[in-house]
Amino acid sequence: MSKFDPWLIVEYAPHLALGAWRTIYIVVAAFLLGYAFGIVLALLSFLPGRLPRTLLTIYSVCLRSIPFIIALFIIYYGLPFFGVRLPTIYVAIVSLAVYKSAYYAEAIRGAIVALPRGQFESARAVGMSPAQAFRHVIAPQILRGLIPPSTNLTLMLIKESSVLSSIAVAELTYQGLIMQGNTYAALEVFTAVSAVYWALCSMTAWLAHRLEARSNAPQAAAIQRNRIAARYLSFERVGK
């Protein structure tokens, strides 16, 4: 076995950069699409009656019970079966988005359910419509509760995107496999690939952290002004 050769990475840096860019592109698109799906599904599940909630449960249990690679194969090989032919990259984005939407929907639903019931009712009682109550009272509050679970799910999404290499999408892992095939230097290549994933995840986590700090800013400032308030915080009524 030859010794660890870091120069290989420099030589192949353009490949890595290309793969990283492709991964970012796919992840951002899948996140936006998947989150939008998730929001719609979560809101639909609050329609009156038991059916909408049941349908969401079935949808999410089905998707969450299979590995992403299987969901990907079903969509990738299933679409042509129904006469739908899409460029592989779109199949990749849609598959990731659909798979993750089940998780996002449950997280969003959970954040809404976690709000004390009285918040919605007090908005309705002053005469706000359900939409106004959502916009002015519910949404700003769930946003804060949504950041931590959404961040975790999105970090998983970044890592799951590596599975797309199995349908020959030229993202980061795929580039790694090509480089390995050309050089047989698996350790160097996958160390470099790891470093890029690590950078992507760190950046995402940092962004989420900033967002969270911003959405908590008024509270943090108020606690600074009134230290006794910090003690009240833990006793805040949660309603029934």
Binding site: M128, A222, L233
Partner: protein, 253 residues
């Protein structure tokens, strides 16, 4: 001469949860300026009645009207129809409900809690809504706290913000659910004073409580409930309440 309709009129209202009749055939008229103490043991149906009157809960039978306008369920040619959400929302600001849990909006400052519904629901300009909020907070002795978030306020202060939020909508009727229950006992005197001030301003009010002593201090009419039914309805002034023993017997109907 014009006939002034009752501020609130409840006719034969019933509401069941499964087999339990939480409110059982209740009729009640409240005229302008009246302060009604609604009393009854825990579980007697006071909150449920309040929630039906304010349209938060859909009742099974009976009618509610606010200043003569039907609210919730209407009878058209002998057939009952549930009003649309829009029809009901138009009347909601007329009822200023102060929840037992207050339900202030924790992501908004005290003054924004009072401004936002005026702007969103009544379409008041921000300036107008702010002026109204400042005036109410000053009246309630809270002007120094206007930019605090709810959890930075004491229980009594939160309650006054919740009251101001309801008052800002210019309600025809204020409804309080157990206004003393979330407070330290030493603050009860403060609430009594506050409710009396509101009464002096001519506010029509329904005050739900399970404490007889508190009810007699703040109201000029007592309505007592037991097992979903009204078992007593009478004036407090001049009436010898102790000998009436409203909760003990159902012979007052």
């Amino acid at each position: 001469m014009t006939v002034v309709p009752d501020v609130l009129c409840v006719e034969q209202l019933s509401k069941s949860f499964g087999a339990l009749r939480a409110v059982d055939d209740v009729s009640l008229r409240i005229t302008r300026g009246q302060v009604v103490g609604l009393i009854g043991a825990s579980g007697s149906g006071k909150t449920t009645l309040l929630r039906c009157m304010t349209g938060l809960e859909r009742h099974d039978a009976g009618y509610v009207s606010i200043e003569g306008k039907p609210f919730g369920r209407v009878s058209v040619g002998g057939v009952d129809r549930q009003q649309t959400r829009k029809e009901m929302d138009a009347l909601r600001p007329k009822l200023g409900l102060v929840f037992q849990q207050l339900n202030l909006w924790p992501h908004l400052t005290a003054i924004e809690n009072i401004i936002r519904p005026q702007v969103v629901v009544l379409k008041r300009s921000r300036e107008e809504a702010t002026a109204k909020a400042v005036q109410l907070l000053t009246t309630l002795g809270l002007s120094a706290k206007s930019s605090e978030y709810p959890y930075a306020l004491s229980g009594g202060q939160r309650q006054r913000v919740a009251i101001a939020r309801a008052l800002a909508m210019d309600p025809a009727l204020m409804l309080f659910d157990e206004p003393t229950s979330a407070l330290d006992p030493e603050l009860v005197g403060e609430v009594v004073a506050l409710l009396r001030d509101l009464a002096a301003m001519g506010m029509t009010m329904v005050i739900v409580t399970h404490e007889m002593g508190f009810a007699t201090k703040v109201s000029d009419r007592i309505v007592a409930m037991n097992a979903g039914k009204i078992i007593f309805d009478g004036k407090t002034r001049g009436a010898d309440l102790a000998s009436n023993r409203p909760l003990a017997g159902s012979h007052y109907t």
